[in-house]
């Protein structure tokens, strides 16, 4: 028994699609130093992928990892992660994309903690993993299929109970925001990794595992099941709703619609996803059920942006809860004795944007097409469609002949447009299949990206028109998300300063996993002058490190961070693996993973201070709902504070040797030094750091 492996199952498969070979790598090569999940992926990518590699090159490696809690029964452990060079990032960079479902657990039952996909199959291929045997099979029967039919076909071929990930036509056609999708419509979306699978001629991976995963401490595990996320433990009936949406997006639905709540991943004690029943399908007369997460609500109607309440980001011990409980409408009762209660729940209305009127069926069709084609819904709802709406209203599309009149309120046009870009039809299909960031630049960014839309109005300052560009691009080829403008823009300056700093040091919209949380009392300390606050910087670093752990241990965006139970991830890790781990030690592991991510960006993609400040700063020059922006000086002061706190050189944004070595990454520092990318630390003349000065 003493040799039994807990949490992990012990091996990672290196799958070479060009050679059709499989090599088994011991997971112990990477853990516990690199924890699991994204942290292991970072290490593998650092070791194996050279600078100059592009997203669609066979040399790009798509790395998939579970975490030590996956398939142990620890809630949220079913979340897993892909990493690789993202075709959807602008410019192409290394990124990650989380995914739930049952695939990761099944992989562990088959005996693998993860896999590395490398090379490119000669012909369309899919993988069938049956316990430790990995088979390369021709994908001819699957190629061209929509997502759900492909999932079903794999069950027909290999039997019910197999767990699969597939790409749809968008991935096959190298659409840069193509998803990888599980059978329950969980997606790895933000990286565009569906297109990387397509570039490797890999349609699907399907698994049947019959083995077991052994958690180390079952008593503790049950304690965690009882405590994590405060599980509902009450009946959750199917509910007939009379309306859909909220605020100006509200739609009365004739006859009502049925809502259920479903879980996203294996063994979780939450049911965060909304199931919309008997909805209109884009592909058949038969009604379908659709899984919806938060952004999906806007497919149905988008006249007003999402409203915000401070409790979504800033919390007290008396009043804090998982954000997913707002979608499932299962929030705990408000603790009225909380002195901050009125402020915590004060609703800030979203801007009026008038993108499209509510239309229940059209929204359903849009969702279904995204699901079946395998396209990132976020990009479609928040970027493609909003751009079409705004660009048309500003008269920018008069000279562009799509072959059909642009009208985002017309279901037929939505179908036509999504079909056009997925299958790269006509003159504009191939342009938009490259994703909005690239399409805008092909068309001409000044006109098609930066023209101001005159239809955005603040509801904080009623009647005030606010400038916003027709393309809701923020940084790294992604659209705004909790950044004070664009989608979910009603967060005040102190909030969007924090989220923008998180974005600046990332390679994608990171708010799906680094959604900023901080204690309300801390927020009160920095809300007047966020750019000069060590408290805000520490909050950003905490959120970033916790995000690293979410994708490594694993946990999820809805579960973590719990500001009032910071040891949660360490307790979960130890319960799964039996390896003692304190919160501090796990935070060090997160910092190490983050440093590796930084090192990859520096070595492979030329990341430095100039690059990232210039990527994020311009998009903060459009006003937030209060008319606020940030000055160049203030932003750079904040960046100084952040770099200093991280132990990075403030001139270059590169971590110092001392910082790398502090976290056991001497060899990384050595390699960066050889590449001329290790800064020489500059000591402040008075030996007092900026952050010390701010604190004093």
């Amino acid at each position: 028994m003493e040799n039994k492996l807990y949490g992990y199952v012990g091996k990672i498969a290196r799958i070479n699609l060009s050679e059709q070979t499989v090599e088994s790598i011991p997971t112990s090569r990477y853990v516990p130093k690199y924890i699991g999940g994204r942290s292991v992926c970072n290490k593998i990518f650092w070791d194996e992928v050279r600078p100059g590699t592009k997203a669609f090159d066979p040399e790009n490696k798509l790395i998939y990892m579970t975490g030590p809690t996956t398939a142990t029964g620890i809630p949220t452990g079913g979340r897993t992660v892909f990493t690789g060079i993202s075709p959807n990032s602008w410019p192409e960079q290394y990124t990650w994309s989380g995914i739930g479902g049952w695939f990761g657990a099944e992989l562990k039952f088959a005996g693998y903690d993860g896999f590395i996909l490398e090379g490119k199959a000669e012909e369309p291929t899919y993988l069938y993993i049956e316990d430790d045997k990995i088979n390369f099979l021709p994908a001819a029967p699957l190629w061209g299929m929509l997502v759900h039919p492909a999932q079903k076909k794999l069950e027909e071929i290999h039997g019910k109970g197999v767990k699969s990930i597939v790409i749809g036509p968008a991935g096959e056609n190298l659409m840069r925001n193509a998803t990888i999708t599980t059978s329950n419509d969980n997606v790895a979306a933000k990286g565009g990794f569906g297109a990387v699978l397509g570039s490797k001629n890999l349609k699907a991976i399907t698994i049947r595992g019959t083995g077991a995963v052994y958690p180390a401490d079952i008593k503790k595990l049950f304690e965690l099941r009882k405590k994590m996320g405060e599980p509902y433990m009450r009946p959750s009936p199917v509910i007939r709703e009379e309306i859909h949406g909220m605020d100006q997006n509200t739609i009365p639905v004739e006859g009502g619609w049925l809502r259920g709540q479903v879980a996203c991943s294996h063994g979780c004690n939450q049911h965060c996803c909304r199931l919309m029943m008997n909805m209109k399908s884009a592909f058949s007369d038969e009604r379908i059920n659709q899984v919806e997460k938060c952004v999906g609500i806007f497919a149905y109607g988008f006249q007003q942006d999402c409203s915000w309440t401070p409790i979504m980001s800033f919390e007290t011990e008396q009043n804090h809860f998982l954000p997913c409980k707002m979608l499932s409408m299962e929030m705990p009762e408000i603790d009225m004795s909380d002195p901050y209660m009125p402020q915590l729940f004060e609703k800030v209305p979203g801007d009026t944007v008038n993108y499209w009127k509510p239309d229940f069926d059209k929204g359903s069709v849009m969702m279904d097409m995204c699901n079946e084609y395998g396209i990132d819904k976020w990009d479609v709802i928040v970027w493609f469609m909003t751009w079409l709406s705004m660009a048309k209203k500003e008269g920018l599309l008069d000279d562009l002949d799509f072959g059909m009149e642009v009208d985002v309120e017309n279901e037929e046009f939505v179908r036509y447009f999504l079909d056009m870009i997925t299958y790269r039809k006509g003159k504009y299909g191939p342009i938009f299949a490259e994703g909005m960031a690239r399409a805008i630049r092909t068309l001409g960014k000044e006109k098609f990206g930066d023209t101001i839309y005159k239809g955005r109005f603040s509801q904080v300052i009623p009647g005030k028109r606010l400038d916003i560009p027709v393309s809701l691009e923020t940084a790294w080829g992604h659209s705004y998300h909790w950044q004070g403008r664009g989608f979910e823009g009603s967060i005040p300056k102190a909030g969007w300063i924090a989220t923008s700093l998180e974005l600046m040091t990332s390679t994608r919209d990171c708010q799906t996993v680094e959604h900023h949380h901080q204690k309300f009392e801390e927020y009160l300390q920095f809300r007047e002058d966020p750019c000069h606050s060590p408290v805000l910087v520490e909050g950003v670093i905490m959120n970033q490190n916790k995000a690293e752990l979410k994708d490594s241990v694993t946990s999820c965006e809805w579960q973590s961070p719990d500001l009032f139970w910071p040891e949660m991830e360490a307790e979960a890790f130890t319960a799964a693996t039996g390896i003692p781990m304190t919160e501090g030690e796990l935070d060090e592991a997160a910092e190490r993973s983050r440093l590796l991510f930084r090192a990859i960006l520096m070595r492979n993609f030329g990341r430095d201070r100039d690059m990232e400040v210039n990527a994020v700063f311009p998009t903060m020059q459009y006003p937030d709902p209060w008319g606020e922006t940030v000055t160049w000086e203030d932003w750079n002061d904040l960046v100084d504070l952040y770099y200093e706190k991280r132990g990075w050189d403030i001139r270059t944004g590169w971590p110092t040797r001392k910082t790398f070595e502090r976290f056991g990454l001497k060899e990384v520092a050595d390699e960066l030094e050889s590449a001329g990318k290790l800064p020489v630390p500059v000591v402040q003349p008075d030996n007092v750091t900026k952050i010390d000065k701010m604190r004093n």
Binding site: M233, G260, Q261, I288
Partner: protein, 168 residues
């Protein structure tokens, strides 16, 4: 439902109507079953099954119906040693004696079978896994106790409640 009208069953695990509680498909019941009974998580050890419909997301939970005439017990070549009947007429498996022949699983009148089989290259590790309502557990069936949405419970009748047509 697969049960034959002529059969009678003992108290067993049932899935409630979605009007009462809708199965979230989380498979916590399967996971908790194997954690409680076997100290692990595995798709070959669970004694309760979530038949996931990944298109409709309407999932069906099933477990042993505790047939009154217990055909699994009848088929067992090591009955009263590997498979026994307790004072409540519940058939349970004594794993140390089970030889993993799977005759009990094949004898189950339901499709798919309500008896799981541990798969292993090592014949000695092949065992049958059947719901016995956690007969020795003071709190009762672990799956019922830990279902986060309370969509399963013990029957007070001998048939499961069918899903309403509307959400099928």
């Amino acid at each position: 439902m697969e049960e034959k009208n002529t059969r009678t069953y003992g108290n067993h695990i049932v899935q409630y109507s979605p009007d009462y509680s809708f199965c979230a498909g989380c498979t916590s019941c399967e996971v908790v079953c194997t954690l409680t009974r076997d100290g692990l998580v595995s798709p070959c050890h669970n004694r309760i099954f979530v038949d996931r419909d990944n298109r409709s997301m309407i999932h069906t939970v099933f477990a042993c119906q505790q047939c009154a005439d217990h055909p699994c017990y009848v088929a067992c070549p090591k009955k009263d040693e590997a498979m026994k009947i307790d004072e409540n007429n519940i058939v349970y498996i004594v794993e140390e004696a089970c030889i993993g022949c799977s005759l009990c699983a094949k004898a189950c009148v339901f499709t798919p079978t309500r008896i799981n089989m541990v798969k292993s290259a090592d014949k000695a590790k092949r065992k049958a896994k059947k719901c016995d309502l956690c007969r020795t557990r003071p709190e009762g069936p672990a799956c019922v106790e830990w279902c986060p949405v309370r969509c399963i419970g013990l029957s007070d009748k001998s048939t499961a409640t069918p899903l309403p047509k509307e959400v099928k």
